[in-house]
Amino acid sequence: MTHCRVPLLALLLAVLPTVLRAQTTIEGRVSLPKTTTAPVVNQRYEIVSKGGIVATNPPLAVVYLEGDFPKSPTPPVAQLIQKELAFVPALLPLRVGTKVEFPNLDDQYHNIFSYSPPKRFDLGRYRPDERPIPSQVFDVPGLVTLRCDIHEHMRGIVLVLATPHFVMTDVAGNFRLTGLPPGRYTLKAWLDSKTTREQAVELTAAGNMRVDFPASP
């Protein structure tokens, strides 16, 4: 019996700080704007037209907790794909310091670039099978708009955040942010480059909150 209690106690002592530190969850809903018009692909001088219907990306929001958080010891890696003449996902939130790879899954060239102040780069044209996959490290927080120099309709957004606590809403605007540390923070909902809503929140050690971001009057 004693032999069993010792490992059990050790296990409890090991997980207790984590349990006490990060068990809060925030749920809620963000009122999203209406679906925007899908782009028309410029095919005027394409000898060979391919379809022409580009998937409509429904508006989504990114909800994140703003505060002072320790830096990640290992830089995370994410992927943003070019597929069927579109960025997938069209909106990518990530933590500052994240390395993003840009695989090209189309059978033609893309040329991704950004002139956004937080990250200015031009990947040039690279083959789909080229290795290593072209990548960039996003080391300054802010909004980065991605474009393609070949396909003018292509748009992608990378939202570089100085927090590890963020989540994207679903198409209805619902979100669930888990594993949050107790404390006083600002909860923000990013909708587009001009619209970020925010609410002050106080998180306790073990409790769930509901926070909604209604549409502005």
């Binding site: 000898i47 037209s49 219907i53 033609q108 031009d122 044209r125 708009t145």
Partner: protein, 425 residues
């Protein structure tokens, strides 16, 4: 009035920079929102339309006479241009596009501003696997590989390559009555009349007239790594803008052209093209000998092209061999081509250089040795460019043009400076 040419040029460039700075101040987001506002869709997105365009402000410092088809006697020229594109997608199979311009002529000139539709076409793609599509309307030629980058935003230069803009002495309104007259028209021999010197530019034909937006139909498609296209139009690739919308007897001798391209991967593309058309307008019929028609005198062109792109490099090359069948004189052959390279030094700063060359064949000159019917030439174009924002770019171009000596005419070297500010929305 600004007295000196260098000061005028500096003034113009400063004005361009001020306008550019103002446009840049309107953030890239403004242009994105404008683009969104100019898009529309209905029926669950199956019908979509987008209005887009470019605004160009061009300034030239020109030699005399002005190069290519630039129609002015001035040494400095300012040329604003508005280009509008309407792209409409109906489901997955039907695509309509049009291009309209408001400017002082297809090539810069002194004429008053005008508005015209340069392109309007309907494309139907019946098969999802891209094996074929059909296009009907007024649209750019399928010959060669320059057309996809002939717009001011895509073209790393301000000018077109020599095969697309160097005016030969072949006229489309009449045929020469003698070799001497033909050599006068070609500036191989001096003595062209004052009247012709002042007016000839509108008659002279290049090897390919820019994008050659003639009217007709085309079929194109992809079979594995091969791309094919063929067109049937009312006017040939050398025809000038005034010919591109003509109907009626223009269709008596339709122009045909075809291109086959092989692209083993996105990095390389190789193509061959051929075109055959009468180059004479119906008004030239009275200048032909009895029993002969326009269809007896044709321009036959063969072309090869190559394209390469990798990382920040883009290279293109084209070579054309063209034959103008001349009444009384025989075949006037010319070969023209260029090699062009573009490199992005930084995300926003790029540069391009192009070497152009055109040579002319010989015609029999009685008892004397055969004589070249045109003056061989080369031209080097150097063009740095800077993208101020994803929607605004500034390009400069310097061209050094050399024409070989001919008969009593000495070799000539001329220089052209140009600046172009483009805002795309």
């Amino acid at each position: 009035m600004i007295p000196h040419r260098p000061i005028r040029l500096a003034f113009t460039l400063t004005a361009l920079a001020i306008v550019g700075g103002t446009v840049v101040a309107a953030s890239e987001e403004y242009f994105d929102r404008l683009g969104q506002a100019l898009s529309a869709s209905s029926l669950h997105g199956h019908v979509r339309a987008r209005l887009s365009g470019t605004v160009d402000l061009e300034a030239y410092h020109l030699p005399t006479p002005a190069p290519a088809f630039i129609d002015t006697t001035r040494e400095d020229l300012f040329n604003p241009r508005l280009t509008l594109f309407l792209d409409t997608q109906l489901g997955e199979r039907v695509y309509l596009f049009s291009q309209a311009r408001a400017d002082q002529g297809f090539d810069p000139g002194q004429s008053a501003a005008r508005f015209r539709f340069d392109e309007y076409a309907l494309r139907i793609t019946p098969w999802a696997d891209r094996r074929g599509s059909f296009q009907l309307g007024k649209f750019a030629t399928i010959v060669g590989n320059w057309v996809p980058r002939h717009g001011s935003w895509e073209n790393p230069f301000i000018s077109a390559p020599v095969p697309y803009e160097h005016a030969t002495g072949v006229w489309d309104t009449e045929t020469p009555r003698s070799l001497n007259q033909f050599l006068l028209w070609n500036h191989v021999r001096p003595g062209l009349s004052v009247f012709n010197t002042a007016n000839e530019k509108k008659f002279r034909l290049p090897l390919v007239w820019g994008p050659a937006y003639a009217t007709g139909a085309a079929v194109s498609g992809a079979l594995g790594q091969f791309r094919y296209s063929a067109e049937l139009k009312n006017a040939g690739i050398a025809s000038r803008p005034a010919s591109w919308t003509k109907a009626g007897k223009w269709w008596t001798y339709p122009a045909v052209a075809a291109r086959l391209a092989y692209s083993p991967n996105p990095m390389w593309t190789f193509g061959v093209s051929a075109a055959n058309a009468t180059y004479l307008r119906p008004s030239a019929q009275p200048t032909l000998t009895a029993g002969r028609g326009r269809g007896d005198y044709r321009q036959r062109t063969f072309a090869a092209d190559a394209g390469f792109a990798w990382h920040h490099w883009q290279l293109w090359a084209e070579v054309f061999q063209s034959r103008f069948e001349m009444p009384l004189l025989g075949d006037a052959d010319t070969v023209s081509g260029y090699v062009e390279a573009k490199y992005k030094f930084t995300p926003q700063f790029f540069g391009a250089v192009r070497f152009n060359r055109q040579t002319f064949g010989t015609l029999l000159d009685g008892p004397r040795p055969p004589i070249h019917w045109g003056r061989n030439l080369w031209r080097i174009d150097v063009a740095p460019g800077y993208r101020l924002t994803p929607h605004v770019q500034l390009k400069l171009e310097y061209s050094l043009h050399h024409e070989a000596s001919a008969a009593a005419l000495a070799a000539e070297r001329t220089q052209t400076l140009a600046a172009q500010l483009t805002a795309r929305f």
